[in-house]
Symmetry: C3
Subunit: 491 residues, 3 copies
Amino acid sequence: MSSSTLFSLTLCFLVLFNCCFAQIEQVTSRHGQQQARRRNFQCQLQKINALEPARRIKSEAGVTDIWDENDKQFQCAGVAVIRHRIQQRGLLLPAYSNTPKLVYVEQGRGIQGAVFAGCPETFQSSGKFSRDRSQSSEDQHQKVRQVREGDVVALPSGVADWFYNNGDSPLVLVQLLDTSNPANQLDQDFRNFFLAGNPQRELQSQRSSYQRDQDEGQRGRQDEGEGQRHQQDRHRNVFGGFDEKILAEAFNIDTRLARSIRNEKDNRGIIVRAEHELQVVSPHQSREEEEREIGYRGGRGGGFNGIEETFCTARLKHNINDPERADFFNPRAGRLTIVNSLNLPILRSVQLSVERGVLYPNALMSPHWNMNAHSIIYITRGNGRIQIVGDNGQTIFDGELREGQVVTAPQSFAVVKKAGSQGFEWVSFKTNDNAQVSQLAGRVSTIRGLPVEVVANSFQISREDARRLKNNREEVRVFSPSQSGRSHEIA
Amino acid sequence: MSSSTLFSLTLCFLVLFNCCFAQIEQVTSRHGQQQARRRNFQCQLQKINALEPARRIKSEAGVTDIWDENDKQFQCAGVAVIRHRIQQRGLLLPAYSNTPKLVYVEQGRGIQGAVFAGCPETFQSSGKFSRDRSQSSEDQHQKVRQVREGDVVALPSGVADWFYNNGDSPLVLVQLLDTSNPANQLDQDFRNFFLAGNPQRELQSQRSSYQRDQDEGQRGRQDEGEGQRHQQDRHRNVFGGFDEKILAEAFNIDTRLARSIRNEKDNRGIIVRAEHELQVVSPHQSREEEEREIGYRGGRGGGFNGIEETFCTARLKHNINDPERADFFNPRAGRLTIVNSLNLPILRSVQLSVERGVLYPNALMSPHWNMNAHSIIYITRGNGRIQIVGDNGQTIFDGELREGQVVTAPQSFAVVKKAGSQGFEWVSFKTNDNAQVSQLAGRVSTIRGLPVEVVANSFQISREDARRLKNNREEVRVFSPSQSGRSHEIA
Amino acid sequence: MSSSTLFSLTLCFLVLFNCCFAQIEQVTSRHGQQQARRRNFQCQLQKINALEPARRIKSEAGVTDIWDENDKQFQCAGVAVIRHRIQQRGLLLPAYSNTPKLVYVEQGRGIQGAVFAGCPETFQSSGKFSRDRSQSSEDQHQKVRQVREGDVVALPSGVADWFYNNGDSPLVLVQLLDTSNPANQLDQDFRNFFLAGNPQRELQSQRSSYQRDQDEGQRGRQDEGEGQRHQQDRHRNVFGGFDEKILAEAFNIDTRLARSIRNEKDNRGIIVRAEHELQVVSPHQSREEEEREIGYRGGRGGGFNGIEETFCTARLKHNINDPERADFFNPRAGRLTIVNSLNLPILRSVQLSVERGVLYPNALMSPHWNMNAHSIIYITRGNGRIQIVGDNGQTIFDGELREGQVVTAPQSFAVVKKAGSQGFEWVSFKTNDNAQVSQLAGRVSTIRGLPVEVVANSFQISREDARRLKNNREEVRVFSPSQSGRSHEIA
């Protein structure tokens, strides 16, 4: 009977294993299945440029830089890039948008809040700085997060979020808005729906109006009704469009307050200065705790009672700057860190991922292509050269890049990066939650995977040369610079 | 040893739990992952209108009303809306289409059949009313369903279906056709492929031809070959396009009968009057049975033998009108009932869901936005006011609606509904199988999720006002009207 | 206690069953959920033609035939069709593309290699024919496969692959490139990125440039920068676009060799003759082994050590020509064999499937429609007649087809095939990994699924005729020819 019990135990373990296995496979297979993205534009790229922001919008407590969403590289990739520089005590107003967003914290420290529909208010602020102590000043709200340089924050579409700079230097956020994401059922414009304030007109996407203007230019007609979008000079928050009596009734407030929340005379823009240092309490986390932080789907909701929806306890951020988390590391060349849906599970629903690269002076990345994603590269430090090559062998980009510039490597296009004399650092946003890269050179590469005879015959070179081509570079992805000006042979 | 057995048992339960958990997560995660929809059109909406049908098609035993599929709100949402009013003994001819469909039974009772490819004929009619009793008149066919007012019926694309009115009042069906659904690999036209009859020309979508006309108007050219679609005056059933000899051979029938099924001289239209009361037997279900009815995936096929395909035993309908099934209920305001892939699992493959709202006189719905879906609102009774607000705070719709009108709230756009003096009832079709809504006011809302300090600084209001804004309305989604004309303060 | 152990065992089995069940459902449900495909073009088809290749490109050791990707049937289906005829000792150069590919081996035998990013080099060639025996001539590379007539090979997008003819007759490959596949994030052009050689200009898709020309013709403008794509006369391999110094450094080779791999003066085209018989070793498999070959996801990687990624041990090929594997067989009519994600699991990620049909002389296929896929039909032998019918009953195709011709049956359109006097054989590529077909006639068909009373009233025929229509043809899908010229009645 003992053996039968043992057998049943064994079986149980087997089952347990199978289940886990099954689940892992599910995860894996989902990665295999790229969701369709939408194409309104062509990717016939002959030349693209390194881009700096096209327009700057000043707010009370910061500036917002927007890259030209009509540049053909962004139209091909179906994304938009925005950077906020938030001053001390600056608050980026709560807003939601029709696209998922990835935020990279380039600089500074802050507090971030994301409000998920239907999730409970699990944080309690004591409100000890309330001016009016006569009344209960306790406040309950949804989770807020500390963010710091190097954090990646993922925000699903339709979720309202805000940032506040509680540090002592500017808080700089680089945002990717994925307009071609399956979650966006509207057109290719990104749209920010501000819950408060009086947002500037220039903030909104000008993609559709650009397109229309292009078409109108050709056709010589004026589409009325819709054509007036860019002529409108009042851009209001979402409450601005509601009748104030209905607002008053919905919130059960007086019409004076209802009028207030429409913020019609607010000139502060979208980044406002907090009157007092914002008293939003957030538990400070040790790094060890952060490591143990519960995952997205599997979370048992540390301390919560289980009635929350799945999203409620999702982890939204991951630090990509920490050298210890590097996925590829070469002490003579640099490192590469990847945040995808395997280490930040909410990316599975957002369908985006991020790669952080740090190259030491003169080091280089293996030539490669992105198999299942576009790669939008934002330079964070240093300088370097990037070459991007298309299907006809045409060089669509060959140039030096410096801090703050953006360039896009479209799916399938071959890319090489080489650091300059100060080293080269970047963050690449990728339009797939598990972006895969195929290397052309190095120990793990396509050329290595080919038989020597195929290499020799394909390139019309000798077998010895084919062997050199396959084997001379023993590093993976992050390559050290050649010892000499003319590269030596190992033969 | 007893303890070891106990341990193995415990483990088993653990495993069982894990499995279930894993599966639930799969379901959940799939909801998180919105499938891409297709965009051919822009969503630059400045003003939209409440719409009534644009064209009416008369058939022998009923009329079909079609909303203008070229209205910009439907082009943005990628859907079409059709209403059939079937008289007593009227049969809506069997047809399939290139899009999934949701049908809401607005009025009456009837029988519905959907023929799934490869599924067995599990229903047997005794055929006792056959005129010719000399021969075996037994008949086997696929499952048929009783439908009644308030039922939602989901029909995957490519599945042939028919409806028959066996009640004593008109059977009114409101259909949503989701042309932008991933299941449709053709263009944005909806296409009905009738298996019988001789359908009217006006039935087919005029979206592509409209588009082409628009373009042609601009370009002054005439695309031959394709341009003739709308000039064709013969619209036949699918057999009409086949050679009658091939048909005769395929069905192993004589050519006379083959010619008959092409129905070339049939003038009855798509809703025909049955010669005799249709003798299709369907087991009458008690409500309790219906409740227990097996689900879509998990079904063990009550009474079937297990060789059927998954779809064969899928439940296709769910009554959304039953007050007991309400998901949100406020005795002073009304109720809200939701049918999504969690309670009608076939919606997972159809990627649509439905919401039914009933507001008592002067009650209102919380202002909200649809996070991951468009919402196509069909008014079923009463009157009320709807306001819809876009990303610039522009009011794209502000008007009174009455029975039979349709208006679309695009994804992300903010919406508020307020009942008039007779109350307000509607059904909203949503382009996501698990459409999520984010409330702006009330006990579970975005404003509640924000810290008081963020609310105060964002709107430039005092902390007391911020607290009022957060807390004054304690209801969820369905709000009772204010007691007085001017709303009172709780402070 | 024995009974308690038994109980725990029972429970275990229950759990095991549940798990398996759960997993199967997952698979099933994924099939139910068609991923969105992209639509740039209309499917307003009034007439389509049987197509032969539009252009032929000659290479050193073979020819490549390309069908007109701008034909409206391919634009509607979002695919391109290419055929390579590789002579003996011919090597189709390694390349990857932006779309998944399905390859049908129409003729001959060969070796095929696909290089998956990050997978280990698990094959070892002894290199005994190396000219220079003084140095180690051992070579390690990724898996290579024997292919033979009737094999279907699935290639995910972004994976580099090559073919080599090691047989004694031409190796003929028919390729479907699925440009509207969710895996392609670029536009509707197919793009081949060759790793070696100097590909001919005509190889690349002319879809976008065609579109642009169409538009330019209308608009009378010349888009500079992008408009030059088709005027460029140098098409190079991907290394051709990189700086040769960077290449030298990346591969750690001298610049002479770096210059060589750019192959700028190579005139051999994309199919080159191997200098010597290619010595790539591949284990010859018995058919029994092939049957047992491990599946895609579930594979435990026969002999590998478990650290490979999921794709590394995926099975990529399946023989569809073997009569024993037929899914539908009628000794008097022919057979039908289907390869979908259930028997070739990598198709789940590729989202394509294949059907192989063999009709004996004068036999016919049941009239049917493709519920969730387009069907691109390539005739491999014999002759036959195909009719394709649209939503208005219009016959968009009615013609005789012969070997080497292609015709497309769009989703939902009704199709019938009838073999000529020599029989009729084809392979149909379908744009869904589990394409489903709904029959109109025969034992398992839509007409059978309808109640007799519905059939009679729909077609206005007698119940007896309705019964004939339902029951006279007892075969499934593959129908034997009628005994007489005029079909007999069973009544």
